[in-house]
């Protein structure tokens, strides 16, 4: 089978998986939802009952023959459209990007769910990207050192770090890091001592302790780090970097272990191969053998894991976003959960599922492209 045939087959299967997920999410969220809550994202309080009924009918949740809005709310017979029919009208709305208005208090009235999601998504994406970069930068050297110093002190140290990452309650690590870097380690700033790192909110809600007054930037992409570079605002960039340091490190600490373990075992496997023995017997330096010969083959499994990690982080860093008051989609999902804004939760779940499915496909295709031995 050719690679493109494989990709097409996977794409077709992907559509089915996403449809199945949308059905599960729809039935989970709508199965027991009160009729008024299902309608809430699409109506404003000012509407009359007749108008609300009209909206309900146009959305396909109320039958056209329904006599009144109160009858719809009371789930009178002949008023509620069967759930499986609702699914199709819901799917049509969802695919056209109509997710209604956000129900979360504190968000400007009239903000659509889609708008809220796309405003918040860059923050999560930026956090996930920095965290993945940190994970790769930390875990790959750790894995290599672990493999080359097998069963010696560096190996033990990196394995314990990896295990600690697996076992770390990230919400707790986040708070401890904030305590240490914001409260305990201080640097002189003007006449007073301030925390070494600015926490992005939970412990200090006002920016009275900012290093500078970074001013504002134009939102070209929504990613603070990129926008500040494009706008040429160095102070803003520096502050954004400080703000992202702790949450990104917390996230990457939780994912470090998986990558380290894979790099270590695949590196150990590679170092046992015949071509490594040959390279060594040719008299090549150990550094060349490890980094030029073994690493190239050992890095492939690491790629797979990195893809999964990236997808998982993009799809939801709920806990870390909550601890650091990071304005991403995960934190917004918690608010949505509090105010029963199921539309946001549905959108969030579906987008996260799309990210995960697409990332899996990209990783598999990239793997086949990079490793000529893999054929489908």
């Amino acid at each position: 089978m050719k690679l493109y045939e494989y990709v097409i087959r996977r794409l077709i299967f992907m559509v089915f998986v996403l449809l199945a997920i949308s059905i599960i999410v729809f039935y989970l969220t709508r199965g027991t939802l009160p009729p008024a809550s299902a309608l809430a994202p699409y109506v404003t309080p000012k509407m009359t009952d007749a108008e609300k009924l009209g909206v309900a009918q146009s959305l396909g949740v109320a039958e056209l023959g329904c006599p009144s809005y109160s009858a719809y709310i009371a789930r009178a017979s002949g008023c509620i459209v069967p759930l499986y029919q609702q699914y199709f009208s819901w799917l049509r709305l969802a695919l056209t990007g109509n997710w209604g208005y956000s129900q979360i208090p504190g968000i400007a009235v009239g903000t659509t769910t889609w708008q809220l999601f796309s405003d918040r998504f860059p923050y999560t994406a930026e956090l996930a990207t920095v965290a993945v970069i940190l994970t790769v930068v930390l875990a790959i050297p750790m894995g290599i050192i672990s493999a080359t110093h097998n069963n010696k002190l560096p190996d033990h140290a990196s394995r314990i770090t990896a295990l600690a990452g697996y076992s770390m309650p990230l919400f707790w690590l986040g708070f401890i890091l904030q305590l240490v870097f914001v409260l305990y380690i201080t640097i002189p700033h003007g006449s007073e001592q301030i925390g070494l790192l600015q926490s992005s909110g939970t412990l200090y809600t006002q920016c009275a302790i900012c290093f500078s007054n970074p001013g504002s930037i134009t939102a070209y992409t929504g990613f603070p780090l990129i926008d500040s570079v494009v706008s040429g605002n160095a102070a803003y960039f520096w502050d954004s970097l400080l703000a992202i340091a702790l949450p990104a490190f917390t996230l990457s600490f939780g994912t470090l272990g998986a990558l380290t373990r894979v790099v270590r075992s695949s590196m150990m496997e590679c170092l046992r191969q015949d071509y490594i023995v040959l390279a060594r017997s040719k008299g090549l330096r150990e550094r060349t053998v490890v980094y030029r010969y073994a690493l190239r083959n050992a890095i492939l499994p690491a790629l797979t894991i990195t893809g999964y990690i990236a997808a998982a982080l993009l799809g939801g860093a709920v806990i870390v976003e909550d601890v650091f008051s990071w304005p991403g989609i995960g934190a917004a999902a918690l608010d949505a959960s509090l105010y029963l804004d199921v539309n946001f939760l549905e959108l969030y779940t579906l987008v996260a599922a799309v990210i995960i499915v697409v990332a899996n496909l990209v990783v598999d295709v990239l793997y086949a492209y990079l490793d000529p031995r893999v054929r489908y």
Binding site: I176, V318, I319, L345
Partner: protein, 329 residues
């Protein structure tokens, strides 16, 4: 995968392999399995981390089981506001100026919380819920995995395809998000919390058991059993599964720690049925508002989660190494 293959050789179903193994170890033991256990114990002695993991796991389980005898189960309903946020531990000096100094002779090893309750007792009281829920979730996932995974692998064809495609769908769900959706819609109760975590946890066991059974069922002893006329159910449950279960047990041990993290994380996020319920995530979340005056309220419950989870992870990691002959010597 190969670790269990070697494991399979050593079991009673293949006497030749077991004999070979014994010869290789140059030990004359009454039975292969006993020799195996003694050898594993010998290896464990050389690996202090496994011992530490086993000790932490056993101590935490014992503390959880007997927590009702160690502390009064009603302590979480009692409040003694005269003793709130005290650090009456003369051994450790906290060096925080804002710590409330409570006059009194009673020593609190880990301080007191905002209701004047002994934090150490609260932590011990919180252990059973975390461990019990974790065991419940992982055992259910394990059972689902064994039933579905072995059915998929052993029956093959349409059954395999159907089970694995459903698994794929659940693999594409973003872990904690689905749990949040379930808890939002169906309410924040303990059974819902358990189900919410279980829903995202079972697929990995199906895949694991399936891949183990798939590689095990091609072995000659299965062929031999078939030729003696053993029923497929008997072959699967009496012979194949016992031989392929070890890596799944490793995963079980590792996941006890993992589920505690997710469960306490959900509690921390506010999905607790009762915010005052003694649970480690709840205790951390309770302590956060006092983090400047009484940092121990955040530090120690979280540290407990870390230590317990690390204990089970060390144990699982160690068992994996013990079972993997390539890493033994």
């Amino acid at each position: 995968m190969s670790n269990h293959n070697d494991q399979g050789k050593k079991s009673e179903e293949t006497p030749e392999a077991a004999r070979e193994d014994r010869q290789a170890e140059k030990k004359e033991q009454p039975s292969g399995r006993l020799a195996e256990i003694r050898f594993a114990l010998y290896l464990a002695r050389r690996n202090p981390l496994v011992i530490a993991g086993a000790a932490i796991s056993i101590i935490s389980i014992l503390l959880a089981v007997f927590s009702g005898f160690i502390v009064s189960p009603d302590i979480w309903k009692v409040s003694n506001l005269g003793m709130r946020l005290c650090w009456n531990n003369p051994v450790i000096n906290w060096h925080i100026s804002s710590v409330a100094t409570c006059s009194g002779t009673e020593v609190f090893p880990l301080g007191t919380d905002a209701y004047g309750r002994n934090l150490l007792q609260m932590i011990i009281l919180a252990l059973p819920l975390d461990l019990e829920t974790s065991f419940e979730i992982v055992s259910s996932a394990f059972l689902i995995g064994v039933v579905l995974g072995s059915a998929a692998a052993y029956m093959g064809g349409l059954v395999d395809e159907a089970i694995m495609r459903v698994t794929d769908i659940f693999f594409a769900f973003p872990g904690i998000v689905l749990a949040i959706v379930i808890l939002t819609v169906y309410g924040r109760t303990l059974p819902n919390l358990t189900i919410a975590v279980l829903v995202v946890w079972w697929p990995i066991y199906v895949r694991l058991v399936r891949s183990q059974v798939l590689s095990e069922k091609e072995k000659p002893y299965v062929e031999a059993l078939k030729s003696t006329g053993a029923s497929p159910i008997r072959i699967l449950y009496r012979h194949i599964l016992p031989n392929s279960i070890y890596p799944v047990l490793v995963q079980f041990t590792l996941d006890i720690g993992g589920v505690i993290l997710v469960f306490s994380g959900l509690m921390f996020l506010g999905f607790s049925p009762d915010p005052k319920l003694p649970e480690l995530g709840n205790l951390v979340s309770d302590g956060i508002q006092y983090v400047f005056t009484a940092p121990w309220l955040v530090i120690f419950p979280g540290l407990t989660i870390l230590v317990i989870s690390l204990g089970f992870n060390l144990l699982g990691d160690g068992i994996r190494d013990l079972l993997d002959p390539r890493l033994r010597r």
